[in-house]
Amino acid sequence: MEAFHHLMTGFVTAVSPMNLLFAAIGCVLGTLIGVLPGLGPAAGTALLVPLTFRLDPTAAIIMLAAIYYGAMYGGTITSVLINVPGEAASVVTCLDGYEMAKQGRAGAALGVAAIGSFIGGTVATFGLVLVALPLTRFALKFGPAEYFSLLLVGLSLVMGLAGKSLAKALVMGVLGLIFSFVGVDPVEGAPRFTFGIAPLMDGIRFVPVVMGFFGIGEILINAEKSLVGVIADGGKVASFFPRRDEWRISVTSILRGTGLGFFLGLIPGTNSAVASFMSYAIERKLSNHPDKFGAGVIEGVAAPETANNAYANAALIPLFTLGLPGSPTGAILMGALIMNGLTPGPLLFSQHATFVWAVIASLYIGNVILLVLNLPLVGWWAKLLKIPYNILMVFILVFCIIGAYSLNNSLFDVGMMIVCGLLGYFFKKLDFPLAPAILTLILGPLMERSLREALSMSQGDYTIFFTRPISLFFLVLAAVILATSAWQAWPSAIREESKEAQV
């Protein structure tokens, strides 16, 4: 009951005209990011972080959260209308969504996706309300040793689930951590890895790195390909509702998608694409007509779209309660919170209750805004795609430059973004996953501080991590996760090797 009382107070703050306006702006910008190809949710959200600098923290995070889940929905529109997924989670929506559009049923596909996204997002937010306080109370028992071990669990999940190679994910995680040490040492105040360059004393900021990796890097990858012919004609959008005989199957798919997306959202390291692909696979397995999947069945759109929005909202649970971001976009939200003087984690709920409950309440409101906003405006969003990609690309680059510069009014950050763009390009070419580097870049200082505080408490005795039961549990869990990932990677590597040997 206490949580609902807090939530009601949160609604009072969230429905203030300014906060409503910023939620709506966030939804529009998020949808725009989702619609535009070549600009994923991570780069898009990072790009817009500087826009929130002049806002008060509540409005800033309400807007960024709206951008985050708005982008999830935006990707659907282009998948259905022109078979171009705006982001990875929408790839699977193309399979049946585009087929439905070809049959003149784009409206029904978009309608069921919007309704599913709304239900998935709302239920996941309800879950956040239910578990936030108990989880926070549990997390308040954590000392530095427990927190360090918990961060290890989060990182091992991210590394274990990212990309094809565990070694490459580990290397990226280590590189992110090393970059996070640049600047003044958090405990003793000594400068590290600054090489006498004054701007490095403040450390490497995550926004230029994210914009470089995901924005410039992506643009360079796209620039390799031909830039003409990306844009196709949008289909006609008629009724937004499924046929009468499709309602029952749509509802059950939406419910399954909600459950799966919510569950996966709680696990750091999974991503919304995993949620949507997995829910598509489950629907196909449970269906009476699996052969029709890919030919335009409504559950092929309803389930994955619901799952990816439920995922996006549920992923805020570990972020807000434990300070554990599960994806690069979550890490950017975490970075934005830290920039606003708010550290995600159990103390957020006790020290900044008004803020955090207002943001949670705004998630409900944002889901309604998305539903109201997107369906009538679908045609307009599709028109945006007629802009040639080379023009879009140039404007994205200009935005990246403004975004990086306005962080600290410094060209050094722009330079950092350009260098990271080049690095991001090479990492992508070489199949190195970028997510672990971003997460460790943000979590690095927290990890180092908790490690060193724990060792100071124990007077240099490392057994502190093993003698405290919660810390030991987390360490064992992290080891199991890494061992499982390594085990799964091992046989496939051997199989591949023997296959190649035979050839």
């Binding site: 826009l51 290397v171 080379n390 140039v394 680059l397 060209l411 100071s456 007077q459 090797e497």
Partner: protein
Amino acid sequence: MKRVNTLVWGLLIAFGAFIVHQSLGHSYYGSDFGPGPGFFSFWLGILLIVLSVIQLVTTYRRPAEPLPDGFIPSREGMRRILSIMGALAASLAVMNFLGFALTMTAFCIFLLRSLGRQPWWQTLILSALAGFGMAYLFGLLQVMLPKGFLGFI
């Protein structure tokens, strides 16, 4: 692919060694009982070296693989990448002198012409919008952008 892998893992080994070397310049154990500023980075450097050496050895133990399709960009693709990187680097070099509006206008003219086939009038309008329009818009949002020698917005 073997040569590419050797280069990548070799670079990472060198970077790890550099981090270890730099970490040794900081105190491993601090003034109190906890570890000092060089502790964590020292072990991360070691971990990077170990991981990279394992991968390097694996590369040599496995049969040679061909480069994946499209790994090396086409001549046209390479030209586009170099245009973008060159324009970014040049704009970084002249931004403080020319200011945001002029630099971005020139940046867009160059890229729109080199990446696409827009007519000149369209290129000029779009570039002015991206340069002067953005500078004006972000000025309204109180974002300070470099003004340059002309004192432009």
